[in-house]
């Protein structure tokens, strides 16, 4: 009997799952007077994300849990929230990277008006984004049917700040933004940087003048909270410093 046989039945490898406790800061404006913490136990795999836990809670335990998410793959920037005290995208935070011996604390990002559970009013954030005029302003018309040509080096100059997905993780981690109602916040300055250092744009001076405001870039305290919070790995504090230097020089 030389035919090879299966000596042992193939047992599919079971992946261990475990119970994780999530402490979520709930607020329902129709019922509650103030936000409160509520805990949920969820069965999770290490490869699951915090967003999966929120889905499980919403779909299986409490349908009233409210949060924003759209693409669920770290591109749309809808699900920035404060996970264990740090601003993260729920869809990019893996369970295996969290300490699950203790409850995982999840709350809405700070500094913006809380509307319900994990949802905040993003308007103040987008207002300061609009103020820096985040669109191409060129003095020369492009050749019809052609692109505006740019060298690799010219593109590289502002490559880092093109990655911004406007999730507000940086702005809502900034202690100056929390306390100063006028400060633009890191995200707006990052997006100004993206156009100020773009060789195709001709209105850097206008944006530098806007950010040279008393409450513009000079309120930045270089605490690096924004760089630490950015889910896209943008060197936010460096971008702000480059804008400061550009203002001192008077040009991009």
């Amino acid at each position: 009997m030389s035919t090879s046989t299966l000596d042992k039945p193939v047992v599919p490898e079971t992946i261990a799952s475990f119970t994780v406790t999530f402490n979520i800061r709930r607020f329902n404006p129709e019922v509650d007077d103030e936000p409160h913490w509520q805990d949920f136990d969820v069965q999770m795999y290490p490869t699951d994300r915090v967003l999966d836990a929120l889905h499980k809670i919403k779909w299986e335990q409490d349908g009233s849990l409210s949060f924003r998410r759209s693409c669920a793959h770290g591109i749309c920037g809808s699900d920035a929230m404060r996970i264990n005290g740090r601003n993260r995208l729920a869809c990019k935070t893996l369970i295996k990277d969290l300490d699950i011996t203790k409850p995982v604390y999840i709350e809405a990002i700070k500094g913006l008006p809380l509307e319900k559970d994990l949802i905040v009013d993003m308007e103040p954030f987008f207002d300061s984004f609009k103020e820096i005029q985040p669109f191409l302003m060129s003095n020369v018309a492009a050749t019809p049917g052609k692109e505006r040509v740019q060298t690799v080096a010219q593109r590289e100059r502002f490559d880092d700040t093109t990655k911004c997905i406007l999730c507000a993780a940086c702005t809502s981690s900034c202690p100056v933004f929390w306390t100063d109602g006028q400060y633009f916040g890191p995200a707006a300055i990052v997006n100004a940087h993206r156009f100020i250092f773009d060789s195709r744009d001709d209105n850097a001076a206008v944006r530098l003048d806007i950010l040279n405001d008393q409450e513009g870039v000079w309120r930045c305290r270089t605490t690096f909270n924004c760089t630490e919070a950015c889910p896209r790995g943008i060197q936010v504090t460096q971008a702000i410093s480059e804008v400061k230097q550009a203002i001192m020089r008077g040009r991009a």
Partner: protein, 151 residues
């Protein structure tokens, strides 16, 4: 019933840009420049006072008055005094801007900081330039720096 939470920060209208000096910009630049100068001045001060020669045990009235009689150290100390107090005062002003919520408390704290800075700068400058290294009287005879006896 619908509860609306108090807004965490109140975005107020940006005040129209006043033409003239942008104090926030120059304040920021001052912090950078004075910071670098202070690193040299303060560590130089500490090195000369605490490490050179006999070190910390050499510190006495004669040592200090000897230094304050030397124009080089007069300039050094006054530069340190002005740079450090304005640097510190500006830093405290920033903290007040960050944490004092109402215009009234901001005003009170900033006035207090400004008063403290001005008083200390005036007092310190007066001391450095009007200091008498050789006070008369027998009680000071042993304490005075050596060059006093040559006067």
């Amino acid at each position: 019933m619908a509860t609306t939470l108090e807004a965490p920060r109140s975005p107020y209208a940006r005040s129209a840009r006043k033409n003239g000096v942008n104090w926030e910009k120059w304040g920021w630049l001052y912090m950078r420049v004075s910071g670098v100068l202070l690193v040299v001045l303060i560590f130089g001060h500490l090195f000369v006072n605490l490490m050179v020669g006999e070190g910390v045990s050499a510190l006495n009235f004669a040592f200090v008055s000897g230094k304050l009689a030397d124009p080089f150290w007069q300039i050094w100390d006054v530069a340190m005094l002005w740079l450090a107090l304005i640097h510190g005062g500006n830093g405290m002003r920033t903290l007040v801007n960050d944490y004092a919520a109402t215009p009234l408390t901001r005003g009170i704290f900033k006035t207090a900081i400004l008063a403290a800075v001005v008083v200390l700068i005036v007092l310190g400058t007066l001391v450095v330039f009007t200091f008498d290294p050789c006070p008369a009287g027998a009680a000071f005879a042993d304490l005075n720096p050596k060059f006093c006896s040559a006067l």
